[in-house]
């Protein structure tokens, strides 16, 4: 019975039509998601050619003149290229490093704490900042922690007998503040991942170590940490793939908290915040498209490279 319904050729157009006829209900169910992704994520691809154009609104994407690499030349020679790339990379690399470090420590500590009620409380507490929006976090920084006159940080500084610092006019430490903020709101999430990995470690290994007379620190050093390393590598590699993409929501809400803060702007300008201003404020589409293309291409190389390394590391890893 079955052999009759299977066509001779399972390939090519016939195979395709047969598959559509057989499973059309499933494809119809996937259609809305496919359509949305097509509209939102695929339709923009042709627009990338604006990077090579002297874009005019009236003439549009198909009528504007091609200017070769002029947009790129302009961008790569400007101060903006180095500044935005540096800020984006600095924030992301430091965030990956410190979030990983803190989360691993938290996961190990939570695993060692005996009172499970307390563990649950700590976990819930440090996970909470993940639920706050970028706008709220931006305003916590700008209006609660760092205002010159009534800020919490200056309150502590004056209580210790020092002169208050006008933080919003002091751009130097702000990159570090952003990284600390990222650690603050990322540690709960990431430590859950590592704690899950630790709880997956075979209990027998710990029992064997106990029998051999290993102390708590030795158990952590010789079992827990080595067992965590694959998970750490995996998480770090995944984040390296997006290392050139910044957190637009957070940075924009800090920069724009006091509208277009002239002091913080150059220090905290990342690629996305610059592109936003190029599109919505200075209306410089050519540059915006050029930066976007640069970011996409380098980002693509980073993802592929990170994936390649992950696969060499262990063939079951990797995203594709």
């Amino acid at each position: 019975m079955l052999t009759k319904t299977v066509p001779k050729s399972n390939r090519g157009v016939r195979g395709f039509l047969y598959e559509m006829q057989k499973n059309w209900v499933y494809y119809m169910m996937a259609l809305p998601a496919l359509l949305v992704v097509f509209l939102v994520n695929y339709l923009p691809y042709p627009g990338m050619i604006i990077a090579f154009q002297d874009f005019h609104f009236i003439r549009g994407m198909w009528g504007s003149d091609f200017v070769g690499l002029d947009n790129f030349r302009f961008f790569f020679q400007s101060v903006v290229f180095f500044r935005t790339t540096f800020n984006t990379l600095f924030i992301n690399i430091s965030t990956i490093f410190f979030v990983t470090l803190t989360s691993v420590i938290i996961a190990i500590v939570l695993n060692e704490i005996r009172k499970k009620m307390a563990v649950r409380f700590y976990q819930n507490a440090i996970f909470f900042p993940h639920f706050l929006s970028a706008v709220v976090i931006g305003h916590l920084l700008i209006h609660v922690l760092f205002p010159t006159q009534s800020g919490v940080v200056n309150g502590i500084i004056t209580a210790l007998g020092f002169a208050p610092v006008p933080w919003l006019l002091t751009p130097e430490p702000w990159l570090a503040f952003v990284v600390i903020t990222n650690v603050w709101r990322g540690m709960g999430f990431t430590s859950i991942v590592y704690l899950a990995t630790i709880s997956g470690i075979d209990e027998e290994m710990f029992e064997a170590a106990d029998l051999d007379g290993a102390g708590r620190l030795q158990r952590i050093w010789f079992i827990t940490i080595p067992m965590l390393i694959p998970a750490i590598c995996m998480m770090v590699l995944l984040s390296i793939g997006t290392i050139l993409f910044g957190d637009f929501g957070l940075l924009r809400s800090i920069i724009d908290g006091p509208p277009n803060n002239p002091m913080l702007l150059p220090r905290l300008d990342i690629i996305e915040t610059f592109v936003f201003r190029a599109i919505r404020e200075t209306v410089d589409f050519g540059t915006a498209a050029a930066i976007g293309l640069y970011q996409s291409v380098v980002g693509f190389i980073m993802v592929v490279a990170a994936n390649w390394v992950a696969k060499r590391f262990d063939s079951s890893y990797g995203l594709f």
Partner: protein, 290 residues
């Protein structure tokens, strides 16, 4: 408890509790502070700065917040976006996730690839902005707040991986009984996937509730501002008023600032104790799947 523990081990426990308590306080302190200041009187904040324990209570900031009609409107927008966006997104993603999980669907991996390519090679912000404003014509549209994040590949793959664990024999036996595929999906598959659906629903609704960059990109009509964006606008206006010295009489600026902030966080705090375990479960599933 007959087990004897050494002094060193007890000291270790104390130190670890101390370390974690410090982190827990750092995580919760800012929000508690915001709340305490928002219920202080403006005068006490002005004279004594931001303090955890208010010397004088006052709810005038909240009266002012709730007397602002734009706040109510923003609340309405955010609630609608969250409710409609979450429902649609969950429905669309779970249907596609299920289709991509069925072994007998030949192009399931092609579909997965289709969802995956834009994450690996992103088209960039400008073309994306132009498509949504021009091609789709969503500028100043309610749907501009929903459609850009309607399909999140992360959730889709999370759902697909979960659906894969459902034994195919369940679906097959229902098919032999003559049940149509959509009915199998609604009556057998979705009820089995309740835990992961709850997790995804929470991920999605948190994203919509906290979302504001879509409004920044696409919305100029104040009636369509969601809560978070309204918060940003109010803070900016207060800042401008302060800079130009046009703060009227006894308007509670600082407490008003923090009250608007707390009004946007409030609902999250209310649901947090009930939902956080679903999040933790979801992250663990995601982590184990890799």
């Amino acid at each position: 408890m007959a087990i004897k523990r050494s002094f060193g081990e007890n000291l270790g426990q104390v130190l670890m509790h101390f370390f974690m308590a410090l982190l827990a306080i750092s995580a919760l302190y800012p929000v508690v502070l915001v709340f305490m200041v928002s219920i202080s009187s403006e005068a006490s904040v002005a004279t004594q700065g931001i303090r955890l324990i208010p010397t004088e209570f006052s709810f005038s900031a909240y009266q002012l917040v709730f007397a602002t009609p734009t706040m109510w409107q923003a609340y309405l927008v955010t609630i609608s976006v969250t409710a409609i966006g979450t429902t649609l997104s969950l429905l669309i993603c779970s249907m596609a996730g299920w289709a991509a999980s069925i072994e007998s669907v030949k192009y399931r991996n092609v579909m997965a690839m289709f969802f995956y390519i834009p994450i690996v090679f992103r088209p960039g912000l400008l073309p994306w902005f132009m498509v949504i404003t021009q091609t789709l014509g969503l500028r100043d549209s309610f749907w501009a707040l929903i459609i850009p994040t309607l399909v999140t590949p992360f959730n889709l793959f999370l759902l697909r991986n979960y659906f894969r664990t459902i034994p195919p024999s369940l679906v097959e036996s229902a098919q032999i009984d003559g049940a149509p595929v959509p009915r199998i999906f609604l009556q057998i598959v979705l009820p089995l996937a309740k835990p992961i659906l709850a997790t995804c629903a929470l991920f999605i609704s948190l994203g919509y509730w906290n979302g504001w960059t879509e409004a920044l990109w696409f919305i100029d009509n104040p009636n369509l501002f969601p809560l978070q964006y309204m918060l940003l606008r109010i803070q900016q206006q207060l800042e401008l008023m302060r800079q130009f010295g046009i703060v009227q009489g006894n308007m509670p600026t600082q407490t008003f600032r923090l009250a608007t902030m707390f009004v946007t966080i409030g609902p999250i705090i209310l649901v947090y104790p009930f939902v956080q375990r679903f999040f933790i479960k979801g992250i663990m599933i995601g982590a184990v799947k890799g």
